[in-house]
């Protein structure tokens, strides 16, 4: 396990290069380039806020950042899960001629997505500073924890899925369905109080996605520190995912090359 991690560190030039190459190729020949990471969620949020604001009669200025925070983080999770599941298949040329640890290929996907998330979160921060300046304070530092936490969740998750998806190519298709289902039962766009009011409060209280989002939403949108419970749920998720990925990797890591 330890030597596996040092190998990942040794090949850092390679996977960071792959990540940056992914970013470059994504916006090659586009006029706005990487600015699309900001424009896209912003436009989508405006759209949704206007529609939802009319339907649910909520204040658009405060509802918009709620949606935006949910959107960029959920976008990160789905992109890392689905993109990560295909990471080995996509990197087959490299896997067939070099003996780098396979986890660098999922790390590449996750690292790319983290950069995109970082760009997109600038919009959120700017919006909140303008609309709710009173929320600014030391507790915003806690919101920064979202980056390492998301990385540590998405990386083992993507690796775990990639081991399976290399062999069962149906997985990425099924995955988008599963993620859609998770989206419906989590307070990502819908406000948590909708769930909390009724019998569905378990969907919030024991939902790691809710606790994950709270790490950003509590400081930015409510002006408070995230609770210990929020962090505990994230830590639990991280440990569970790392354990599953490591356990599966022990037997699957070497066999991946046969399925490419």
């Amino acid at each position: 396990m330890f030597s596996y991690l040092t190998d990942i560190w040794k090949s850092r030039y390679f996977w960071t290069h792959l990540s940056f190459a992914d970013l470059r190729s994504r916006w090659r020949r586009s006029f706005f380039g990487i600015l699309w990471t900001i424009i896209q969620p912003l436009g989508m949020t405006l759209l949704l806020s206007i529609v939802f604001g009319k339907i649910f009669k909520v204040d658009i200025y405060e509802y918009a950042p709620y949606i935006l925070s949910g959107m960029i983080i959920w976008e990160f999770v789905t992109a890392s899960a689905i993109g990560g599941a295909l990471a080995f298949v996509q990197a087959d040329a490299y896997i067939k001629q070099c003996t780098h640890p396979l986890a660098i290929y999922t790390l590449r996907t996750v690292f790319t997505n983290i950069i995109v998330l970082g760009m997109a979160s600038l919009t959120l921060v700017a919006w909140v500073l303008v609309v709710m300046p009173g929320n600014f304070g030391w507790h915003w530092l806690a919101a920064l924890a979202i980056f390492p936490i998301l990385g540590l969740i998405a990386w083992p998750l993507a690796t775990f899925l990639a081991y399976i998806a290399t062999r069962f190519r149906d997985l990425p298709h099924a995955l988008s369905l599963i993620l859609q289902a998770m989206w419906f039962v989590s307070p990502i766009y819908f406000e948590a109080k909708i769930f909390k009011g009724g019998e569905l409060h378990a969907l919030v209280d024991y939902n790691p996605i809710y606790h994950l989002l709270e790490i950003v939403r509590a400081p930015l949108l409510q002006g408070t520190w995230p609770t210990i419970e929020n962090f505990a749920f994230c830590a639990g998720t991280i440990i569970a995912l790392i354990a599953s990925a490591a356990l599966l990797g022990r037997s699957a890591e070497k066999k991946v090359i046969f399925y490419l």
Partner: protein
């Protein structure tokens, strides 16, 4: 000095048949409905059978055998790409392998950028690659095309660049699979010199080839493969005559 060494004990390698059987929903339903056909059953491929071997420092080993005899699998197993199913494999020393040269280019990036990318793929640092860049550019000899995207290259030009990059750095253990034979005649001569230089630098060489001339010139020891087994191990000249006899016997 490190003692470069390859030690193999009772190595077996299987390609699992699950990997290349059709596993779609369609075939699953099909096989459930149809009476099982026996004639087309696919089994696990036993690609390397019970191989035990020692290769010490300074040895130059040539691999002989018809297509599908297990030479490439043997090399990829040595490189650590293919997992062994049983046995023990110990390789001491840095391994540099030249198998499929044209893999892993980025078509939209320029030749010069791809030099850096390939170097990173081989596990080298960016500063080291910048040092070597000019030398690689000079060897590939692509003129102004080096600053053009790879997708504008002809197949031959791609091979030349790939060859120049992959052979820029040697290793203590060098594994070659039929790489001599890239580009036009002029480049061929240059490539041959370069390969020979790499071979001289390396401590251990394992070369798979059908070119008997190259084998006798470079190697001292020969291994003859047949159906995943080593059927002859000895002096290269004896190995070649053994291999030729085994072909004639068929």
């Amino acid at each position: 000095m490190k003692n470069n060494q390859i030690t193999l004990e009772n190595i077996n390698l299987y390609y699992s048949s699950v990997a290349f059987k059709e596993r779609s929903l369609k075939s699953l339903l099909g096989s459930a409905l149809r009476v099982t056909r026996k004639n087309h059953e696919i089994h696990d491929v036993h690609a390397l059978k019970n191989i035990s071997l020692d290769i010490g420092p300074g040895e130059r080993v040539g691999l002989l055998g018809h297509n599908g005899a297990g030479k490439s699998t043997f090399l990829k197993m040595l490189a650590g790409l293919y997992p062994i199913s049983s046995g023990r494999r110990r390789v001491t020393g840095t391994v540099r392998s030249l198998f499929d040269l044209s893999l892993g280019f980025e078509p939209d990036a320029s030749g010069r950028e791809n030099i850096l990318y390939r170097g990173l793929l081989l596990g080298l640092s960016p500063s080291f690659m910048r040092e070597r860049e000019e030398e690689i550019v000079a060897f590939a000899d692509l003129g102004e095309f080096i600053d053009y995207p790879i997708k504008t290259y002809s197949a031959g030009m791609q091979v030349r660049l790939a060859f120049a990059i992959s052979t820029a750095v040697g290793g203590e253990i060098l594994l070659l699979d039929e790489v001599i034979g890239a580009g036009d005649a002029n480049f061929m001569a240059k490539a041959k010199d370069r390969i020979l230089m790499l071979i001289e630098q390396s401590e251990i060489l394992v070369l798979a080839s059908h070119d008997f001339g190259a084998l006798t010139a470079i190697c001292e020891r020969g291994l003859v493969f047949n159906h995943g087994q080593i059927i002859f191990d000895g002096n290269i000249n004896d190995s070649i005559s053994f291999y030729q006899k085994s072909i004639e016997a068929k």
